[in-house]
Amino acid sequence: MTSNGWLQIILLFAVVILTAIPLGRYMARVYAGERTFLSAVLGPVERLLYGAAGVDPRNEQGWLGYTLAMLLFNGLGVLLLFALLRFQGLLPWNPQGFSGLSADLAFNTAVSFVTNTNWQSYAGEATMSNFSQMVGLTVQNFLSAATGLALAIALVRGFARSNAKAVGNFFVDMTRSTLYILLPLALVTAVALIAMGMPQTLDGQVAATTLDGAQQTIAVGPVASQIAIKQLGTNGGGFFNANAAHPFENPTALTNMLQVWQMLVISVAIVFAFGQLVGDKRQGHALLAAMLILLVSGVAIAYWAEAAGTPTLMAAGLDPAGGNMEGKEVRFGLGLSALWAAVTTGLSTGSVNAMHGSFTPIGGLVPLVLIKLGEILPGGVGSGLYGMLVMAIIAVFVAGLMVGRTPEYLGKKIEAREVKMAILAVLILPLAVLGFSGVSAVLPDALAGVGNAGPHGLSEILYAYASGAGNNGSAFASLSANTPWYNTTIGFAMLLGRFAYIVPMMAIAGSLAAKTRLAASSGTFPTHGPLFVGLLIGVILILGGLQFFPAFALGPIAEQVQMLAGKTF
């Protein structure tokens, strides 16, 4: 570890927080329907869209109506994208003449982009036409992110409102998320990325003559526009197979920093917006503190583990100062690779600038743990906040009783219905991850895809399902996942992880909105300040950790202790 590495990491977080504060204030205004500096331009567009779609923005929906609208919208999104990918060969903007995708891959990919997972069983530059990338994938990059934001705001309204039936209008929240937040940010940052050297063209490839005279075709395309939203929307689906490790997807250390900023900024800003919308900024600060403490710890552990490297290789004469550089880009080095790995999994982005599968066992355990803690640190756009709020509900319920009152969070009593729904939601992750992993660990078809012997192979399987169910999208890439078994089961894991979580979460939103918001007193369980932050961290670690500890023990932990003992496979 170097002080330079740490300086870059600290600087990045400082910039993220400083920019997220005004962005959060802006987002709160957008969702409250108040005027912003963009209203003059976007207001007419917004009204035009409502008029065209026949949506009355004042007509709010109850939680069920909201959820059904969301499911319908996303269901249609899956169907459309599935069809588009299947019939890619017949569609325009296909300079390389790629044919349609197989049914299981098209299903996996459609689900993957609609659920904001962006798990990619394919190599983009060798599979996807420009039409598929731009009309199919990039559109879903926007819509899946907007869906997350809309849902989070619906839950926040559940807390903020008192004795209310409605939690908002799904179509209005979608429109505002896209129009006022995602599009402007994507536009500005895409231009910045182009300025920093990222390609943006409708050509499929350029021909180049190498130094020794050979002809080489280099894949290019509308990269910057897709990368901007890929990071902002915590989608993570790369234009190229190598994702952000590819020089065109991440040319310099500066683009690297800009992209990490893009990933974090909306997820952090919405926590500030949350504090503002519930009328107590300290509540947002407490959640953010818990998120960032865990995230920075993750960065530190990964950085430390990668810097420590592999003792066997050191013994074989590798320079210990270099750490573990396997699978890493020299232009980013250990610090920025560890930072990216933690951020991309603490969020739900899943884009990578280094190969997680090549990390040391503990270094690779960090992204795995961050995914399994629920991707709430700070989590995907919107999904991070609602996931964190579900955790906070559980934390408040377990420990809140200890102050001798029926637990309350933000003035809302946490009772049987909320607990039931919160538990249903948190059951999804272990069910999808451990269920599918447990089967895959003994299924010959599944084992055939495993790329490494020993505990690392198990880590690959665990990571794949965690990434799917957690809607992350990153991978321990040595797993060959483009098989019917993995495409289908990971597809289901993604659907479960997204929608089976959202439905109970929205039920909580509805039930909270209907409750009276109680006044706080000194007898109320305090949900701001260090005590609550510590408690929340404890609950997240214990609840998440207890579920997955046995699996970790067999995967990364076993690998680590065996590595330290000098055992190889």
């Binding site: 559980i394 001798g404 946490i414 059951l427 084992l447 109680l518 006044a519 007898g523 067999l554």
Partner: protein, 693 residues
């Protein structure tokens, strides 16, 4: 209740061994076995799951027995799984047993009595004798001295003293009379004197005593809302660990370990929250029981929980905040009269005054100047208070001493002075000052001369201010309800340190106040006894009716205080809070325990295939078998160890939520992580020493 556990009423405050008598314990041991019936256990999902897997391991044990496999390990796991279930059952049985002991004494009061039913209230001689069990609501019965009242009802005619020891434990009889706020009588209590006619208001089987028996026995115990929510959480955690353990079989196979069923079961049972699952219902029963020990009867567990949530307490001034009676605190002489003479005159005038106010003047004179006069001076002629004159006093040695309402005393003196009474300015000033401070001035005249003003004051109970401060720290607002005028009320309110007051309170005012608080999202508790309190009692989230109150009040409230002590409300809030705290603390403890159990079991499971995982065995447990066994044994024993805490409740100190939380989080959260490391290690040492594994 400045500190210390609420349960420490003298009668109940014995060390641990005495959370239950040997009789209760042995009966509970039998009940624990009876409760193995899966139909009974099904309502406790965590323990039910434990029983199912214990049965599964038993089947495997029998199979091993038949096939001659090694038995020691599986047999011990099986035994301790059953013990886990039995210990949980035992906890519940002990709690029920303690309630049952109280129910027994109540049942004695319910023995079948003969009732004399009359048709015509004016003809008590014509009655039909019938069993109390055959009485219907609306029947009129005559009860005379020495008879048991056959059912709950209201006195429609007559006055009697009634011994209510059967329900209150207080043997001094109380007066019950028709009309007014003391007309309710309870079945099973005894008329000591006189004869009354009672209209029956509760059908047999649903009377007050019946409900009380059902409550303390826990027979009709419904899960309370918070208990239901907690059970859901526990079921959820159980499911999560079920997924973890089942999938571990497949993951283990990958790593080259085929995990056996008893081992997986051991892991499951140690991970699922058996500790809180086993103690949950005992905690609930014990909470009810604590209320009963404070002579408070809650009509539902829901009310007890609501008590913990209360934000606003409506307290009657009289009897709760102040002693019921006004007391003399000073006597202010007019110029020209010495203080001692004034006190002596007041003493003389009050000698025969047997009211609390009169007695307080006598004792004030004694305390201040050592004046004492046990016997009236010879020739004294006492003038008793009458509603017409509104003064009282004495004629002695040619003096006519009178005290009473300021106006009346002035009229008396003015008459004797022939209408030319001189009222000293100081006299008027004193009267005004006393009135302004919320006190009551009494005039004192010696013939045609006003000599002093007596200051009668509503004396605030000495420790009440600290208790209100405690409540404030807990975030509870106190509101004083009084019939006094706003000036008097404000003075007493500031002296007692309440947060708000309702002066000249009518029942409608109380009701409005409660509704307004509830609209602002606050829960309100109040107590009351009169029929006109009934609407407010019903509206309040926690309504405590006094046992001495009317039937209407008792029906409207959701608790009844058998001691009829309005101060009890503060204790009730404490009991509610303690109940919730105990649940939360043990839940946290139970979940935190899992960390250590992982460190015991996980390395033991895979040590053969992956020897390097031995570094996770940070407790240094001797063998894989002993590690697994020790975790299971610890998991079972901790239930037994925590039964006293579950029954007694965690330590309850009135303080702000933040400080209570940090304290309990430290003890039960951090403690919950650390204790099992020590406990499992100790068990492992014993298991190893005994060569059990």
């Amino acid at each position: 209740m400045s500190t210390t556990s609420l349960a420490s009423k003298p009668a109940a405050a014995k060390p641990f061994g005495s959370i239950a008598t040997p009789g209760i314990l042995s009966r509970a041991a039998v009940d624990a076995v009876r409760k193995l019936d899966p139909r009974l256990l099904a309502k406790n999902p965590v323990i039910f799951v434990t029983e199912v897997v214990a049965a599964l391991v038993t089947v495997l044990f029998v199979r091993d027995l038949a096939t001659g496999q090694p038995l020691l390990f599986t047999g011990q796991i099986m035994a301790w799984l059953w013990f886990t279930v039995l210990f949980a059952n035992f906890a519940e049985a002990v709690a029920e047993g303690r309630g049952r002991a109280q129910a027994e004494s109540l049942k004695r009061a319910r023995t079948d009595t003969l009732a004399r039913r009359i048709e015509d209230i004016n003809n008590r001689q014509r009655y039909t004798k019938l069993s109390a069990l055959d009485l219907k609501v609306g029947d009129l019965v005559v009860v005379t001295a020495g008879e048991l009242i056959p059912g709950d009802g209201e006195i429609v005619e007559g006055i009697a003293s009634v011994n209510e020891a059967a329900i209150t434990g207080e043997s001094a009889p109380v007066i019950r009379e028709s009309g007014g706020d003391r007309s309710a009588v309870t079945g099973g209590t005894t008329v000591v004197s006189d004869e009354i006619v009672v209209r029956i208001t509760a059908a047999p089987g649903s009377s007050f005593i019946d409900r009380m028996i059902a409550l303390v026995e826990g027979a009709e115990r419904q899960k309370t809302p918070n208990e239901i929510a907690l059970t859901i959480l526990l079921v959820g955690m159980t499911l999560i660990f079920l997924i973890t353990v089942v999938s571990l079989y497949g993951l283990g196979l990958y790593g080259g370990t085929e995990l056996s069923v008893p081992v997986l079961v051991a892991l499951l049972v140690t991970l699922i929250p058996t500790t809180i699952g086993g103690l949950l219902s005992a905690i609930g029963i014990a909470g009810m029981d604590r209320l009963v020990r404070h002579n408070v009867l809650a009509m539902s567990g829901r009310a007890v929980e609501a008590a913990g949530d209360v934000d606003t307490l409506l307290l009657d001034k009289t009897g709760t905040i102040t002693f019921g009676n006004r007391m003399a605190t000073e006597i202010i002489p007019v110029p020209g009269v010495s203080e001692k003479d004034a006190y002596a005159a007041a003493l003389l005038a009050s000698l025969a005054d047997d009211t609390a106010e009169g007695r307080s003047i006598v004792s004030l004179a004694r305390d201040k100047f050592g004046l004492a006069m046990d016997v009236a001076p010879a020739g004294a002629n006492f003038v008793a208070f009458s509603a017409a004159t509104r003064i009282s006093g004495v004629d002695v040695d040619g003096r006519q001493l009178r005290k009473g309402a300021v106006d009346s005393v002035r009229r008396f003196a003015n008459d004797l002075a022939g209408g030319r009474l001189a009222v000293p300015a100081e006299y008027n000033a004193a009267v005004e000052r006393i009135a302004r401070s919320g006190g009551t001035p009494l005039g004192l005249a010696d013939g045609g001369r006003l000599i002093a003003v007596i200051h009668l004051k509503d004396v605030v109970k000495p420790d009440i201010k600290e208790r209100f401060a405690e409540l404030r720290r807990m975030g509870i607002r106190t509101v004083m309800v009084t019939g006094d005028n706003p000036v008097t009320a404000a003075a007493i309110a500031s002296e007692a340190g309440v947060d708000d007051f309702i002066a000249e309170a009518t029942p409608q005012d109380k009701l409005n106040y409660i509704r307004n608080e509830q609209r602002n999202g606050r829960l309100v508790a109040m107590c009351g006894d009169g029929t006109n309190d009934a609407p407010a009692l019903a509206q309040a989230d926690v309504g405590v009716a006094m046992q001495t109150g009317t039937q209407a009040a008792r029906e409207a409230g959701n608790m009844v205080d058998l001691d009829s002590d309005p101060t009890k409300l503060i204790e009730i809030v404490g009991i509610g809070k303690q109940l919730l705290m105990t649940r939360g603390s043990l839940t946290t403890f139970s979940i935190a325990n899992d960390v250590a159990k992982y460190f015991a079991i996980i390395p033991a499971l895979f040590i053969v295939a992956i020897p390097e995982l031995g570094v996770l065995n940070i407790m240094g447990l001797s063998t894989p078998e002993s590690a697994i066994l020790s975790a299971v044994i610890f998991n079972a024993l901790i239930i037994i160890a925590l039964i006293p805490l579950a029954l007694r409740g965690v330590k309850y100190t009135p303080a702000s939520a933040a400080s209570v939380l940090s304290r309990n989080l430290l003890i039960y959260g951090l403690g919950g992580i650390l204790v099992p490391f020590v406990g499992i290690k100790l068990v492992d040492m014993i298991v190893t020493a005994l060569h059990l594994a």
